[in-house]
């Protein structure tokens, strides 16, 4: 227990749920495996959307690619959140004080802002465009920002254990 952490995270780690995750033979391991599996699906779906927006796969309908890949991305993000929260609860007071974890949260926040901006302002312009049509600069920019930020999130996530 890290008493320097804000009380809510100390309480979360000390909670019955936190203890159950630590003491169960399989919950922590299942959450760890589930987090990586969700990450793989998420990264794949996001990469498909991002490379389409940056100009690859130009012979496809951008609206259709976004629609199909988004389903996987949303489902996988849900999986990442559930498994991530499970892993976090077990060691909340320590992890919240880890600078790399804080960086990871900030990067996730930026990536979600990028998605929100894209979905509200850019996707509506892109959705109906036919194949082999140059996409707006905003779409290309969103694609590059997205893939860069999510890779940074993954790298930060892996680095938490070392710092």
């Amino acid at each position: 227990m890290n008493d320097a952490a804000p009380a809510i995270f100390v309480a979360l780690e000390a909670s019955a749920a936190g203890a159950a995750i630590r003491q169960s033979t399989w919950i922590y391991m299942a959450a760890n495996v589930g987090h990586i599996v969700s990450l793989v699906v998420f990264a794949g779906a996001v990469a498909v959307m991002d490379i389409r927006m940056t100009g690859a796969l130009a012979a496809t309908s951008p609206g259709h690619v976004l629609k199909m890949a988004r389903r996987f991305a949303v489902a996988a993000f849900f999986g990442l959140t559930i498994t991530g929260a499970t892993l976090f609860a077990a060691e909340a007071s320590h992890v919240i004080m880890n600078p790399i974890f804080q960086l990871k949260l900030a990067l996730i926040g930026l990536a979600l802002l990028n998605i929100t901006w894209f979905e509200y302002f850019t996707a509506p312009q892109v959705r109906a465009l036919p194949p082999l049509t140059p996409l707006p600069v905003a779409a290309r920019r969103a694609g590059f920002i997205s893939i860069g930020l999510w890779i940074a999130v993954a790298a930060a996530g892996r680095t938490i254990a070392y710092l």
């Binding site: 399989w26 391991m29 990586i36 940056t54 100009g55 690859a56 893939i147 254990a161």
Partner: protein, 115 residues
């Protein structure tokens, strides 16, 4: 122009996964220690089981393995309970004072690898 970026990105992701074996970096493998003595406290918990042991020189905090691995390899909770005698071979932490990570432990006549 775009393709090297994508290729590099994929490479970055793959290398991150390949290096997904953590926790030994902050222990000094050039100064192995063997701590032998009674177990004072025992937490059979994830992500790693942790015990404190009264060694000949001081009380050590000994970091063991994830509990699923411990159970799988026969290092059961009752074998590393408070009061049992343990011998742990491992490496001292370069970060935490009086903490070491066990490479292997010997309890109840059985030697069990932790890595």
């Amino acid at each position: 122009m775009r393709h090297p970026v994508i290729a590099l990105s994929v490479l970055a992701l793959l290398s991150g996964t390949a290096a997904a074996h953590h926790g030994w970096g902050s222990y000094d493998a050039s100064k192995p220690v063997t701590v032998t003595g009674p177990i004072l406290t025992s937490k059979y918990e994830n992500p790693h089981a942790t015990i404190t042991v009264r060694g000949s020189d001081k009380v050590w905090t000994v970091t063991l393995a994830p509990t699923f691995r411990m159970t799988n390899r026969g290092a059961l909770a009752e074998m590393i309970a408070v009061g049992k005698t343990i011998s742990a071979y491992g490496y001292p932490s370069t970060v935490e004072k009086d903490e070491m990570r066990a490479e292997r432990i010997t309890v109840g006549g059985k030697t069990i690898e932790m890595r």
